[in-house]
């Protein structure tokens, strides 16, 4: 198979790993040596030309060919059948509304959270139970890492120059979670996002690190659970004060609590939207956007009414609800991933196009 990438040589595996560090090919963690065998296995699985261009990754404007994506997926430790998920995530991030250039360079601490939903969650072996947002699962760890390495090696998102994130967060190494279809009491995320139940999709939103929310859903009435979720969102330091998207990963106990009270997913969003507000006299302490700016909260409420309530979720569609995680204790832990605000990183979903006969899902690229 003809590959276009430059080839380097290392005497052994230890030297190969060190060479990757020397070339700045890695984010700080060691990588799998990108050798011909696994690269070709990915390309053979995908049945796509190595020089096919998926897109241009900002801010470096590197050309993301299928070959370059495959190389980065090898480095991340992906199995070939994971790679269509990575490609779909790249396509999603390249939608204009996602503003990837801004996400890669902002001083804020947002990075793309990849949310996988659909039949391939099971066939690819995602862990959707205990630790779903964390450690221990090859599919989520390596798909998330591959996305980050693509943003690093092709997009050039190096800290300092040009990535200006003030602090970053651990999700800048890998940030991927899958929906737990078994405990989701509502329509699947892919259905809510306009795809078929048989489709597997990747949904990306640029978010901060997960913030643990103890909802008490094992012993609290639904009103209190909603109040706690909303209260965690409406913090004055959150960029969602300017609007924009955010993600709530609901543990199965909390999802059951809310659905058991007769709430549809949209109703949960509407209730959180109604409750996640802070009064004007408090919000005035947050001065990050001028009053003349179109995003400023004073466009929504009277800035002279100190008791008027400023919403942190401006529309139900700004809030992504994903069910995942273990059953846990009565604390009913959930995770809030706040967004970049109205600045970008907006939620985008793409269908995963598996090759014919690949991955045992109905979503097949013919």
């Amino acid at each position: 198979m003809q590959l276009a990438s430059r080839i380097f040589e290392a005497p052994d595996i230890e030297a190969a790993v060190e060479f990757c560090y020397q070339q700045n090919w890695t984010d700080g963690l060691p990588v799998v040596a990108p050798t011909r065998g696994p690269i070709e296995r990915i390309l053979a699985y995908l049945q796509r030309a190595p020089d096919e261009v998926v897109g241009i990754i900002p801010p470096r404007n590197g050309v993301a060919t299928i070959e370059k994506i495959a190389i980065n997926c090898v480095m991340a430790g992906c199995k070939p059948e994971y790679v269509p998920v990575v490609i779909a995530a790249v396509e999603a991030m390249l939608e204009e509304r996602f503003n990837l250039n801004g996400v890669q360079t902002t001083t804020h601490a947002c990075t793309p959270l990849c949310m996988v939903s659909g039949p391939a969650v099971k066939t690819l072996g995602f862990n959707t139970k205990e630790g779903a947002l964390g450690h221990g699962c090859r599919a989520s760890a390596t798909i998330g890492r591959a996305v980050r390495l693509i943003l690093w090696n092709i997009g050039g998102g190096y800290p300092g120059e040009p990535c200006k994130t003030t602090l970053g967060h651990p999700g800048y190494f890998s940030f991927c979670v899958a929906e737990d279809a078994d405990s989701n009491p509502w329509e699947a995320l892919q259905v809510e996002r306009g795809f078929g139940a048989e489709d597997t999709i990747v949904t990306v939103t640029a978010t901060t690190a997960p913030y643990s929310v103890a909802t008490g859903s094992g012993y609290s009435p639904v009103e209190d659970v909603l109040y706690l979720l909303a209260d965690s969102i409406a913090t004055l330091g959150s960029n969602n004060i300017t609007g924009g998207d955010l993600v709530l990963v609901l543990g199965p106990m909390t999802a059951k609590n809310l659905a058991g009270a007769g709430l549809a997913k949209l109703q949960v969003k509407q209730e959180i939207m109604r409750l996640a507000r802070r009064p004007v006299h408090e919000v005035k302490r947050r001065r990050s956007i001028s009053k003349t700016h179109p995003m400023h909260w004073s466009k929504l409420v009277d800035p002279d009414d100190d008791n008027a309530l400023v919403p942190f979720v401006r529309n139900p569609e700004n809030l992504v609800l994903l069910v995942a995680g273990g059953w846990g204790s009565g604390a009913g832990f959930c995770a809030l991933c706040s967004g970049w605000g109205a600045l970008g990183g907006f939620t985008v979903s793409k269908r995963v196009e598996f090759p014919a006969g690949g991955a045992g899902t109905n979503s097949v690229r013919g």
Binding site: I7, P34, S290, T292, L343
Partner: protein, 94 residues
């Protein structure tokens, strides 16, 4: 036997640019102002524009005050400012 490693770094997209026109003086020319409206630069930008007006006496000022501070200006606005000006001042920040 050595290990062959394939370069993961993407080639940079090459962009065809028009030949740049050299301005020997900025005085009296049409100026474009692309400002991101970041709160930390409001006072600066106001003073900056005032200074431009008094020292360079532009024949016209075409302003693009971005609706989204952090995102690129819409292409139509970018095209307009390029068509209607001789040079452009682009504010960065945030």
């Amino acid at each position: 036997m050595s290990i062959q490693l394939f370069d993961p770094v993407g080639e940079v997209e090459t962009v065809q640019r028009q030949a740049q026109r050299v301005l020997h003086s900025l005085e009296g020319k049409r100026v474009g102002c692309v400002f991101n409206q970041h709160v930390s630069a409001l006072a600066f930008w106001k003073a900056f524009e005032s200074e431009i007006r008094s020292t360079l006496k532009p024949s016209n000022i075409c302003r693009v005050y971005k609706a989204n501070t952090w995102a690129p200006a819409p292409r139509a606005d970018a095209n307009r400012v390029l068509e209607e000006t001789d040079y452009v001042l682009v504010g960065v920040g945030a």
